[in-house]
Structure formats: structure tokens, C-alpha cells
């Protein structure tokens, strides 16, 4: 049906091998967080409800304290526009993030593997005051 030359067939085979390899590795539990976000889906030990409105995060009144190795769920809602919910190490490195859509319950389960203090920051542009949407040391992770 399709006339394809030998060298073209070999090249296509190479493309297929690369595509299958990268997709298989990233979807597998070899990618650490795929273990719990996609494969095992453990029941969270704690649930933290966070709301965002007019550029401001409102955190649970008792603060957010979690234990290393325990699955916890963050449920984030917005009252006006789309925001982001990102958790950052003190060094600035981002651990994970998700979009926060208004009218939806935006949920993610995470397992922290290092104790310390973590910062919450909006990762989605929500207007000119977006850069100010940062809550330093909002999450305390204990051994």
C-alpha cells in the first residue's frame, strides 16, 4: 500500500523504539511519584483544604504538618480565577504543582520524602499581583 524504502523503515523503527522506551519509563513506577499518583493510589492519612480568593491563599487554621512517608491529600479551591498550587523546597526547587480551577475541587495526593519547611506559591498567572502569591514555610514535614 505505502511504498517505503529500507532505510526509511529502519529510521521509523528507531523512532518507535525511542517513543516506546521513553513512554514506558515515565509511565512506570520508576518515576517516583508515579508510584502513588498513578499506580498504588494509597488512601491519604490527612486531607488539607486550602482556598484561594483575590490573590490570597487561606490555609487550614491548624497549619499544615505532615510526616515523611505518609500520603496526604491537598484539596484546593478558587473563588474567582485560575491559580496554581505549587510546593517548593527552601532551596527554591519545585516539588510538585497543579492548576487551581474555579468551580472545581482540585486534588492531589503527595508523599514527602524529606523533613523540612516547604513554601506554597501560585504557579499560574492570575493577574498583575500574581508574583506576590507566596506563603513561605507553609508546610512542615516532620520525620
Amino acid at each position: 500500500m505505502v511504498e517505503i524504502e529500507k532505510v526509511e523503515k529502519r529510521y521509523l523503527f528507531l523512532l518507535i523504539v525511542i517513543a516506546v522506551f521513553i513512554n514506558a519509563v515515565t509511565i512506570s513506577p520508576l518515576t517516583p511519584w508515579q508510584n502513588w499518583t498513578f499506580w498504588s493510589r494509597p488512601t491519604p492519612t490527612s486531607i488539607f483544604n486550602i482556598s484561594v480568593c483575590d490573590y490570597e491563599f487561606t490555609l487550614p487554621s491548624g497549619g499544615i504538618q505532615v510526616r515523611v512517608g505518609e500520603p496526604v491529600k491537598f484539596v484546593v479551591t478558587s473563588c474567582d480565577v485560575t491559580y496554581g498550587f505549587g510546593v517548593f523546597q527552601r532551596s527554591g526547587r519545585m516539588l510538585f504543582q497543579m492548576q487551581v480551577l474555579p468551580n472545581y475541587s482540585n486534588e492531589i495526593v503527595w508523599i514527602f520524602d524529606e523533613p523540612g519547611l516547604y513554601t506554597i506559591r501560585s504557579t499560574e498567572y492570575s493577574g498583575p499581583d500574581h508574583p506576590s502569591m507566596i506563603v513561605p514555610d507553609a508546610i512542615r514535614v516532620v520525620p
Partner: protein, 542 residues
Amino acid sequence: MARAPMTPQVLSLRYAVVAVLFLALAGIEGLLMRAQLSNMSFTIPGLVTIPMEAEHYYAMLTPHPLVGAYGWAYLAVFAAFYFLVPTLIKKPLYSMRLANAHMWVHIVGLLTVWSSGFFLRFGSLYTVYWPLPVVRFPPLSVVIFAVGLALVELSVLCFIFNLFATILKRSQSDPLPRAVALRSLLMASFGLDNVVRSLRGLFGHRTALNGGTRASNPEPLPVFVVAVMRGSIDATLNAVVLTGAGILMLFFTLPKLLVGLTLDPLVVDPLVYKNVFWWGLDMIADGDVLIWVAGTLYLLAPILANRPLYGEKVVRYVILTDLIVSMGVWSHHLLCDRPQPELMRLLSGQFITWGEFFTMGLSFFAALMTLWLARPLKFSMPMKFMLGGIVGFALGGGSGLLQANFAVNLIMHNTQWVPGFHIHQMVLTGLSSILFAAIYALLPMLTGTGLKSERLSNLHFWFWMIGGVGMAFSMGFAWRDGMLRRTLYPGVDMYLPYMNSATVFGVLLALGFLAFLANLIKTYGLRTLVGLFIPLPVSKPK
């Protein structure tokens, strides 16, 4: 008073000159924003003071990609295709008047979009996530932005109509009924005739494809023209969706502006909006950009190698496959939207996106094999820029595939990886280099003479390539330290090494562009370039 008479060559040159001016505008905005991110302080009297206020910065960031995409890239494509398509199919352009008129509509539309930011501080960014535009920004600025966007899309639709009308205009000598002739032509061009013939053969049914007549099937259209037609489908859908987004903005803004009535924007589901918007917007990024670029390669490579395109039959299937792929990839922009169904994120967001790895991979392979089989090659400017463009697409496309990943997107989305390694690499090193290759190849055909200074051309090439790759990498590596895109970090120094490096490479890009501009003026003269648009007094012979 004399102005150049309107010919296909003059029309294309006009579009090319306007495209270059818009590239300059996008570049100036880009450099000002780079200066801000490098914590610089200076004032350009009457224009801008760096650092800008956040409101001003985002009002500049909003039109920046629109001016780059619709001003530079689209108009350069219009310049090339308005000349090449009629030339290749040996038919006159359907309407020169329409082509000329919608250029002005395009310019007015883009300047209107730009003005909504510059004068009225509209700063919703090109993503205009619902309901951000109507909640945060002055109603008048929203109206101006939406009207400008609609004008630009109207111009795009005029271009596509004009091209299709040119291609599909029936020749007098065609013996077949119009519908049959059209169907046969399209099937042959997209390689569908072979598929249907094989399928019918399987079932022992051998009816002719041309409506049962005995007339021979037509010659398929050149593969470049097929790619142009295929990309135009995406451009049309994109124009319809973006105009729809503009109409939605007007629906919620005009009552407020005219009678003070505020409607609740959240009656529109933000997730449904986001799906429709990205489906339409991705028709540019993952649809017509890729296939129009591929089409340009299908044309340039054989011209530069002086031999037929390698694997042309496969390429026709690639073009058709890419149409299906580009319709299904939009969810890679919603991988971090947890309410988006998981299956959609996995299938549309990741697996179908990998379809582009195959379609673009095979397109580049066809172009490179065409060149390889024609060795020894002369490394002319179009050849250099074409190869540079392929490198840019390989780097930017590879990084795009990594971020369009169900797992990895969780740590990459909205970081500097996206505008750095992916977008600027694709647009500056990839797309723009291919456009420059086309411009360098076309100028001798349009004017009878190529650019004068080889030295300036080489400076353009090397500064552009080093600047483009360097800026993209400088921005992209800031991802490792958690730097977000679209975020200002006042008083934070940790990202300065990345941003300063990006600024230096950005200046190199600008120098490359200036070398090109100087070469244009040196070759043709400012008077000739201005005379394309404005009647100038005839100079007296000395």
C-alpha cells in the same frame, strides 16, 4: 509620484517587509522584558522605565507572542505562500486586491491588540484563561483586545480563502464534472487514491475513483501545496476558536461597559473553556506551524539539492496523519489540571502528542535524506538557515515532548523550561530560521538579486543561531532552581545568572537581526523598501 505597481512579487515583498518590522517590535519588547528580569534600571524617555510596574510588564508580555506569531511568522508565511503557491501550480492568484487589503486589516488588528496593552494595560496573557480577562482588566481594554484579535483572524481567513480559491479554481479544459474533478485532485494529493484502490482491490471492487468515468486520474498537487492546504485547515479552526473566545469576552464585557450590568463569568465552565481554547490554539503550535514548516522543507530541500524530494509518497501520508494528530493533542496543556479526566491527559496529553515525533521526524528525515543523496552540497544561506532550523526544531520539539508527559509535567509545567527550552527554541531557532531560509531563497526570485553582503548574511546566521540556542538554554536551565514562567522575582538574586546570560544571548539575537536589516537596506535601498508602500517623488537623474 511613483509607487511600485502591484505584481505578485511586490505583494510578497510587502508582506515580507511588514513581517520583518513586526519581528523587530516583538524583539524590542522581548529585550525590554529581558532587561527587567536581569534587574536592570534605565529609562527610555517618553517610552518606558525599567523596572516596569508589574501591570506594565504583563501588558507587554500579553501581545509579545501574538506580535511574534501573527506579525512575524504568519506574515512571513503569507509572503512566501502568496508567491510560491500560484507559481508552483501555474495559476494566477485568485484575488490580488483581497491579498493586499487583508494585509492592512492584519496590521490594524495587530496594532489594536498591541494598543490594548500599551495604552490600556490589558494583561491577560495570550492564554486568556477564563474568566481572567473579564475579572481583572478594564472593560474597554478587553473590548479593544477582542476586536483586534478578531481583525487578525479575519485576515487569516481571507488568506486561506484566497489560497484555496486559487488552488481549486477549475481549469477550462477539465473534462470531469467539478465535484468529481475536485475529489479526484484532493484524493490524489493526499495519497488517498492509493489507500482506496488497495481497499477496493481487497474486496474485488474496482470502480474508478474519478466518479466512474474513464478519464485518467489527475496529477497530484505538489507536496508543498498539499502541506499548505493541510496547514490551512488548522489555521481556519484556530481562527474560529480564537474569534469565539473574543466574542465571549465581548459578551461579558459590553453590558458592563454600556449599562453597568455585571454578568457572572463563572456560568461558563473554565475547564470546558480551557479544553476548547487549547484545542483551537494548539492548531497553530502543533498544527499549521509544524506542517507549514514541513511543507517549506519539502520545497526548499529539493530546490537546494536539485533533486526530487526523498520519500514523497510517504510524505503525503505524513501530511494526512498529522491532520489527525494535531486534532488530538491539546490535553498536553492540561496535564496539571486534575479535574481533567485522567484518560484524556494520558491519551491526548501524552500518547497522541508523540504522534508529532513521528510526523515531524519523518518530515525532517525526508528533507535531510534529499540533501544527503545530493552531496556534495553548496552551503548557501538558505541551506545554512534550513539546517539551523532543523536543529532548532529537534531541540525545541524534544524538550516539548518531555514536558508533554503525564508524569514529568508535574515538575515542569509553568516553569522556565516551557518558554526557554521549548517555545523560544522552537520559535527563534526553529521556525524563524526556516522562515529566514525561505526569505533568503525567495529574494532573488522576487527582486532578481540576492542580498549583497555575504559577510552580513553570515553574521546574521551565526548571531541568530548562537543567540537563539543560548537564550533558550539560559532560560530553560532556570527551571532546575524552580524559576516559574510569567513570574517576576523582585529582590530575588538566585535566578540572575540565568537571566543575565539570557539577556546577553538576546542581545546577540538582536545583532543578528540588525545585520540582516542592514543587508536588506544596503542591497535594495531604503527608498525602494519604502516605495513598496508609499508613493515617493521620482528622483531626477543626475
